[in-house]
Amino acid sequence: METFLPVFFVAAMGLALLLYVVLDGFDLGVGILLPLADETEKDTMIASIGPFWDANETWIVLGIGILLIAFPQAYGIVLTELYIPVTIMLFGLILRGVAFDFRVKAGDGRKKLWNRAFFFGSLTAASSQGWMLGAYITGLQSSLTSWLFAALIAMTLPSLYIMLGASWLLIKTEGALFDKAVRWGRVALPPMGFALLLVSIATPIVSSEIASRWFTLPNAIGLMPIPVTCLVAYFAVYRLLRRPEYLRNGTNWVVYALLILICLMAALGLAYSIYPDIVIGRMDLYEAAAATNSLQFIFYGVAVTLPVILFYSAYVFWVFRGKATNLSYE
C-alpha cells in the first residue's frame, strides 16, 4: 500500500489534468475563437459548450485537489512558486465562467462587453496555464531561461486549445461555421506543433538525467511509439484539414480524437520524464505523499466515485450529442 498509493494518486492526478486539457481545452479554444465569428455564430459556439463547461472545469479542481490531498508538501511548493500565473488564471476562469450567463442575462446592451470578457478570460486562462506548464517542467526555477521558456509556452499553448476548440466545432456545427472552423484549425496547427516540440525538448535540456533516459539504448527504441504516434497524428490532422470533405459524413470527430491522442502521448512522455519526481529535481512523490491512512481513506472514495463520475459525465455528453442547437431552459 505504501508504494502503491502514491503511484495510484499521481496517475489519478495525471488523468484528471489530461481530461481537463482535452475537455476544458475545447471550451477555452472556442472562447478564444469567439471574436472571429459573427453574432449568430457566437451564440451557436457558446451553445456548443454551454451544457459541458462547468463539469469540464471541475477536472482541474480534481487535479489540484489530488495534489492537495495526496501530496500536500508539493501542493504548497508548487502553488507558492506559481502564485502569479495561478492568480491570473483564476481571473481568467472567473471572467469566462460568469460570461456564459451574463451575456444573455445582463440585458442586450451588455452582450458585447460579456462576449469580450468571455474571449479575454479564455485567452488569459489558456496563456497562464501555458506559463504554469513551462515553469513547472523547467523545475520551478527563477532563472532567465526558465522565465523565457515559460513565456514561450504561454504564447504557444493557446494554439493547442484553439485546435481543440476548432475540432469541437467540426463536431458540433455545420455550414459556414464549420468551414470557418476548418480554416481556424489550419492556422493554429503549426504553432501547436511548435508548442508540443518545445515541451518535449525542455525536460531533457533542463536535466541531463532525463536526457539520458530518453536517448540511450534500449530505452530510445522502446519509447519510439510516443514521438512516432504524435507525428503520424499531426500529419493526419494536417491532411484532414486540407481535405475537409472527408470530415462531413460521420467522421467529423476524427480530428478531435487525433488531438486527444496527441495530448495523451505528450502526457505519457512527460510522465516518463518526470517520474518519480513531483517537483522536478526537488522532491519525489514518496517524499511529498500524505500519510498512508489518509491516502487509504480517500482511495476508497476515488475507487468508487471516479467510475460513477466518468459514467454520468459520458451520459451528459450523450444527451447533448449531435449538432449544437440554441440553448433553452425549456
Binding site: G50, P51, F52, D54, A55, E57, T58, I60, V61, L62, I64, G65, I66, L68, I69, A70, P72, Q73, Y75, G76, V78, L79, T80, L82, Y83, I84, V86, T87, L90, F91, L93, I94, G97, V98, F100, D101, F102, K105, A106, G107, A290, A291, N293, S294, F297, I298, G301, V302, T305, L306, I309, Y312, S313, V316, V319, F320, L327, S328, Y329, E330
Partner: protein, 451 residues
C-alpha cells in the same frame, strides 16, 4: 507604506471567501426550492409553478456560475496563501476536500447541464432526477466543507507527530464537536437567504406591476419558508452558542466583550469595545442577561478575555458582527411573521409591506456574512483551534505582490457583484410573459389576481 504580508494574506482570503459564500448561500437553498417548483408543476395543472420554475432557474444558473468560479479560486488559495496549513493539516483537510470534489462538485456540475438545457432532450423523469441531483450535490458540498471548517474550530480524532496532523478516527474528524451545530445553523441560513431572496424579488416585481401569475405564489413560498425557519434558526443559533462556549470560550468572551471572568455577567446590547483600555465605552447593559443567555442560568460563570491574554481574537469586530447577525435575525422574524400573518388572514399585501420585503431581499447575505465573521475572526489567532496559529502557516509572498493581487481581486469582485445585482434587476423587471412559454397562457392564469 508597507503592509504586513500576513494581514494582506488574511484580507485576501477573507475577501475571497466572503464573496464566494454569497452564491452557495443562495444556491444551496434555491436548488431545493426549484425542485419543489419542479415537482409542483409536474403534479398540478396550475402552470404558474412552471413560470416560477423557469424564472428562478435563470437566476439559479447565474448564481451557480458565480459560486463555481469563486469556489475554484478558493481551492487554489489554500495553497497560494496558506501552504503551511496543508503541510501540517493536509492529512485531514485533504481527504475532506477531496470527498467534496468527488461526491458533490461533479454531481452538481454534470447534472446542471441537463437541468438547465436538457428539458427537451430527456424524459420528464430524468429531468426531475437531474434537478434532484443538483440539489443533493449542493447540500453534500456544504456537508464536507462545513465538516472541515468545524474540524478547524474543534479539532478531534487526530494525533500530532513533529507538528504534522495524522488522522486517527475519520468519524470523529467529520462529526467533530461543533459540526452538527454549525452544519444545521449554516444550512438553515442558506434556506433563509434564498427564502428572503425569492420573497424580496417577487415583492419588488409585484410593486412594479411586472408580476406574472407566479409572483404571489413564489412570494408566499418564500414568506412561509422564512416564517417557519427563523424560529428554528434562533434555537439552532442558541445551541451553537452553547457549544462554542464549551469549546471556544475566548470566542464567546469576544462576542460579548466580557473583559473579566464573572458570575451573573450582564449582556451588553450596545457599546464600543476598546482593547487598549480593556473596557467597553458607552455600554448599554442588561444585568445578568449575559449569563442567562450563555449558561441558561442567572449567575452562571462566563469566562472573560483576561483568561486568554494574547490569544484571543480582536474584540470589537467580533462583538459588532455578532450584533449585526442578531439584529438581522430579529428583523427577519418580524418581517416574515408579519407577512405570513397577512397571507394567513387572506389580506392583500400592502405596498408598504412589499417595500419592506423587497428591502430585505439580501438580508440573508448580511446575516450570513456577519455570522461567518463572528466564527472565523473569532477563531483567531488560531487556524486549527488551540494547535496551529494562522501566522505560522502563511505563504512567503512580498507585500507588493499581495497588494497587487488583492486590489485585482477586490476590483473584479466589486464589478461582478454589481453586475450580478444589475442582472437580477434586469431579469426581475421583465414580465413573466416574456419568458417564452406557450402563447395564450396568460388568459388561463388566475393566480396573480389576488394582488
Amino acid at each position: 507604506m508597507e503592509f504586513d504580508p500576513f494581514v494582506l494574506a488574511r484580507i485576501q482570503f477573507a475577501a475571497n471567501i466572503s464573496f464566494h459564500i454569497l452564491f452557495p448561500g443562495i444556491t444551496i437553498g434555491l436548488a431545493w426550492v426549484l425542485l419543489y417548483f419542479r415537482v409542483r408543476f409536474t403534479l398540478s395543472d396550475d402552470r404558474a409553478w412552471e413560470y416560477a420554475y423557469y424564472f428562478w432557474v435563470k437566476i439559479f444558473a447565474l448564481t451557480f456560475a458565480l459560486g463555481v468560479v469563486s469556489g475554484i479560486t478558493m481551492s487554489f488559495q489554500f495553497g497560494t496563501n496558506w501552504p503551511g496549513f496543508m503541510e501540517r493539516a493536509g492529512n485531514i483537510a485533504g481527504p475532506l476536500l477531496g470527498y467534496e470534489v468527488l461526491t458533490a462538485f461533479f454531481l452538481e456540475a454534470s447534472f446542471l447541464g441537463i437541468m438547465l438545457f436538457g428539458k427537451s432532450r430527456v424524459s420528464n423523469r430524468i429531468h426531475l432526477f437531474a434537478t434532484a441531483m443538483v440539489a443533493i450535490g449542493t447540500s453534500i458540498s456544504g456537508f464536507w466543507i462545513l465538516a472541515l471548517n468545524s474540524w478547524m474550530q474543534t479539532p478531534a480524532g487526530f494525533t500530532i507527530e513533529n507538528g504534522v496532523f495524522f488522522a486517527e478516527d475519520w468519524l470523529q474528524i467529520i462529526f467533530n464537536p461543533s459540526f452538527p451545530y454549525r452544519f444545521a445553523h449554516m444550512m438553515t441560513a442558506c434556506f433563509l437567504t434564498s427564502a428572503f431572496l425569492i420573497a424580496g424579488v417577487s415583492a419588488w416585481r409585484a410593486r412594479r406591476g411586472v408580476d406574472g401569475p407566479a409572483t404571489v405564489m413564489v412570494m408566499k413560498t418564500g414568506v412561509f419558508m422564512a416564517a417557519i425557519l427563523i424560529p428554528v434558526q434562533i434555537v439552532l443559533g442558541d445551541l451553537h452558542g452553547l457549544n462554542t462556549l464549551e469549546h471556544q470560550p475566548a470566542k464567546i468572551a469576544a462576542m460579548e466583550a466580557v473583559w473579566e471572568t464573572e458570575r451573573g455577567a450582564a449582556f451588553t446590547v450596545f457599546g464600543f469595545p476598546d482593547e487598549e483600555e480593556r473596557t467597553t465605552h458607552f455600554a448599554l447593559q442588561i444585568p445578568k442577561a449575559g449569563s442567562l443567555i450563555l449558561t441558561h442560568s442567572l449567575d452562571g460563570e462566563v469566562k472573560g478575555l483576561n483568561e486568554f491574554e494574547g490569544e484571543h481574537p480582536p474584540v470589537a469586530i467580533v462583538f459588532w458582527s455578532f450584533r449585526v447577525m442578531l439584529g438581522m435575525g430579529a428583523l427577519m422574524l418580524l418581517v416574515s411573521w408579519w407577512s405570513a400573518l397577512q397571507f394567513l388572514r387572506g389580506r392583500t399585501i400592502s405596498n408598504t409591506l412589499l417595500l419592506v420585503l423587497s428591502a430585505m431581499t439580501f438580508s440573508g447575505w448580511i446575516a450570513t456574512l456577519a455570522g461567518w465573521y463572528v466564527t472565523e475572526i473569532g477563531r483567531q489567532p488560531w487556524i486549527v483551534y488551540g494547535l496551529v496559529k494562522s501566522a505560522d502557516v502563511v505563504a512567503d509572498h512580498s507585500s507588493a505582490t499581495l497588494t497587487g493581487t488583492l486590489l485585482g481581486y477586490i476590483g473584479l469582485y466589486t464589478f461582478l457583484l454589481i453586475s450580478y445585482i444589475q442582472a437580477l434587476r434586469y431579469l426581475a423587471s421583465k414580465p413573466a410573459q416574456s419568458l417564452s412559454l406557450e402563447p395564450g397562457y396568460k388568459r388561463t392564469a388566475r393566480v396573480g389576481e389576488t394582488l
